[in-house]
């Protein structure tokens, strides 16, 4: 288990991390959210010794992280982190060997991953000859080739088309199911919501919200009601609501300070409703509330 305990880091007058704490368990996929400048990248770099924290501690299974431990981790930086003029397979083997693999094992792993990512025919291409999406795939292989116990990915879905995103999400989900601890940051909250059960939301260097996504959403006082029926006159029966959408026979409203399910059901009953949804706000709204608070 990765344990980050009250980590602090300042760059001059800018506080990047302010008593920041979180945990990632083996087999857990934890989404790290936060607006730009929240400190997510600084936190990730701290795990790899690329910054020296002013205070706090980072441990892996209860032990401070040393060079040998770090070689069992995988990292995918936000921007492309490969040698652009080196061949794909050569560089994957090199990275695998840096992480302690034998030449033979690294070669086998490179071939296996390239096949899985449909990149076998690009094994001898230079990285700068690949499309952005394929470079991202190679980047992910570079982080995974040595079968790391912990994988940290900084914006792994940035710039990917929906198909590539789905593919990468599938790979990560598979890894987590096999016991790998995964921490990743992303601004694509729909992907995070699909992939993770738990998230951590950072703001101004602090963890301001953490927990299971369902619980975080449920903890919000906001509720949404969406109903389909003969008409939408029921909207007027929910004072203080904010109409999100209103069309022929279907409407969606936001209840700012909540209205119990029983009260909503009371309004909707007798209004000719054939289908209705009563739900907490999406993760994106929870995130926005935190980011603008």
């Amino acid at each position: 288990m990765l344990n980050i305990d009250r980590l602090e880091k300042s760059f001059g007058v800018v506080t990047a991390l302010d008593r920041c704490s979180l945990e990632v368990k083996s087999g857990q996929m934890l989404g790290l959210l936060g607006p730009n400048g929240a400190g997510k990248t600084t936190l990730m770099r701290g795990v790899f010794g690329l910054i020296r924290p002013d205070a706090g501690e980072i441990t892996w299974h209860g032990t401070p992280i040393d060079a040998a431990t770090r070689r069992r981790f995988g990292y995918m930086p936000e921007e492309r982190g490969l040698y652009p003029k080196l061949e794909v397979r050569w560089q994957l083997i090199y990275l695998g060997r840096l992480h302690g693999m034998s030449d033979h094992d690294a070669g086998d792993a490179a071939d296996r991953w390239l096949a899985e990512f449909l990149l076998s025919d690009r094994a001898t291409s230079r990285v700068n000859e690949l499309s952005h999406g394929n470079q991202q795939r190679v980047q992910l292989i570079a982080a995974l080739i040595h079968e790391p116990e912990l994988v940290i990915l900084d914006e792994p879905f940035a710039g990917l088309d929906p198909i590539a995103s789905e593919f990468m999400a599938g790979v990560l989900a598979d890894l987590a199911s096999r016991g790998t601890a995964i921490l990743f940051s992303s601004h694509q909250l729909d992907v995070v919501e699909d992939l993770c059960r738990e998230v951590v939301i950072m703001h101004r260097g602090r963890v301001v919200l953490e927990g299971a996504i369902d619980e975080l959403r449920a903890a919000s006082p906001v509720r949404y009601v969406e109903a389909t029926g003969e008409n939408t006159s029921w909207v007027a029966g929910l004072p203080g609501s904010e109409v999100v959408h209103r069309g022929s026979g279907r409407a969606r409203v936001r209840l700012g300070h909540g209205a119990g399910l029983e009260a909503v059901a009371g309004v909707l009953s007798g209004a000719g409703i054939t289908r209705f949804v009563y739900e907490p706000p999406p993760l994106s709204e929870v995130f926005r509330d935190v980011a603008t608070s």
Binding site: R45, G49, L50, I51, Y75, M76, G81, Y94, A142
Partner: protein
């Protein structure tokens, strides 16, 4: 063991990445050196034609002239003196078939392209023949004639043909050391910039420490530099020894040996400085503004060295060769010239080793602080602080 394996891997990547550039630049250098030597050898052969072809209109002095000219030139020069009618002789002279045409005892013509030494030789031979003829007419004996023709001898004082070769070796040593340090130093700098700009440094620093990464770069690129020096110097010395017209001074081999010694120290010194400079730049566009000013340091040693060794300004090269910035470039040349006292060699080595240890330590910390600052441009003070933090963490 793991540390050594990591060093070996990272060093091999440096070599692998630059294998094409290394092979191409080495091939170009070998072609230039060997081609230059062959061209110099061939050009030297063109300076003097193997024959002197002289036409004579007046038949009487023909044999005497041939003898007199032959006595005045090297034995391998073929002297050909033939008799022609004046119009025919002038035609042959203009066409280049004759070097000179003697129309009577006191008049000779030559083409503008005729070498000066041929003209001097012919005129001297004609004077001698004229003098002999006049002495015979006057009834002078052989002793009198010998006295009249007593040769005037003279030579350059303190001239040692070896000196020019040694001076050349010294100048070449300065040039080669400068190019090697500059080229391989910049390879390190731009390699560091590339790793930083592409953030690949962040990826691999999880597996290898910055100190190991820097050491691997120094070993790999220093090794390539040394290999190139060896190949080019070997090709040059080998070619020169095969060409009979080029004499290789005895000091050439020892100059190369000392160059290897000073290259190792010089590369450790400058390589670490270039690595530190590279780590400060954010990307390759910015790299030039950080790295180019650095080139002035070895550049100054190069300029001073070439001028000093060419002109014999020993005092300047003597002082500068003791200052570590320029020792690697100037000391091998001075050693080749045989102008280094034992105490100077010991002092220069001690200063260079001390300066290298100090510079490598400081540069490594700047490198560490700079390379981990993602894609940002950082000042050297900031990098030094950051590097010191990481070292102590």
């Amino acid at each position: 063991m793991i540390g050594l394996e990591l060093l070996r891997l990272a060093a091999w990547r440096e070599v692998y990445s630059r294998r094409k550039a290394f092979l191409i630049t080495t091939a170009i250098a070998v072609v230039l050196v060997v081609g230059g030597l062959v061209a110099a050898s061939t050009t030297g052969a063109d300076d003097g034609p193997p024959t002197i072809a002289v036409g004579v209109v007046d038949r009487s002095a023909l044999e005497d002239l041939e003898r007199e000219i032959s006595e005045r030139v090297e034995s391998e020069v073929v002297v050909s003196v033939g008799r022609f009618e004046r119009p025919e002789g002038m035609e042959l002279l203009r066409s280049g078939s004759l070097h000179a045409l003697i129309v009577d005892a006191h008049r000779v013509y030559w083409e503008p392209s005729t070498s000066r030494w041929i003209v001097d030789t012919v005129v001297s031979a004609m004077s001698s023949v004229n003098l002999t003829n006049a002495a015979t007419e006057l009834g002078l004996g052989e002793a009198d004639l010998a006295a009249l023709q007593a040769p005037i001898t003279g030579e350059t004082i303190d001239y040692d043909p070896e000196d020019e070769g040694v001076m050349l070796i010294s100048v070449i040593t300065v040039i080669v050391m400068f190019i090697a340090i500059l080229a391989y130093g910049q390879w390190i700098a731009y390699g560091v910039v590339e790793e930083k700009a592409n953030r690949v440094a962040e990826l691999i620093l999880g597996a290898i420490s910055p100190g190991q990464l820097l050491t691997a770069k120094m070993i790999a690129l220093g090794g390539l530099g040394l290999a190139q020096l060896t190949v080019v110097a070997g090709a040059g010395l080998g070619t020169a020894s095969l060409l009979e017209r080029i004499e290789v001074p005895d000091v050439a081999a020892s100059a190369w040996g000392w160059s290897v010694f000073w290259f190792i120290l010089g590369f450790a010194f400058y390589g670490s400085v270039y690595a530190a400079a590279g780590s400060l730049a954010a990307d390759s566009q910015e790299a030039g503004s950080v790295i180019t000013p650095l080139n002035l340091l070895p550049g100054l040693g190069y300029v001073v060295g070439v001028i000093a060794f060419s002109s014999g300004a020993e005092a300047v090269s003597r002082v500068m060769s003791l200052i570590p910035f320029w020792t690697p470039m100037l000391m091998p040349g001075r050693i080749a010239a045989g102008s280094v006292e034992a105490w100077e060699l010991i002092l220069a080595t001690a200063l260079m080793v001390a300066a290298t240890v100090l510079v490598v330590r400081v540069a490594a910390r700047i490198y560490l602080g700079g390379i981990t600052q993602a894609t940002r441009r950082v000042g050297w003070r900031q990098a030094l602080r950051g590097g010191s933090d990481l070292v102590s963490s």
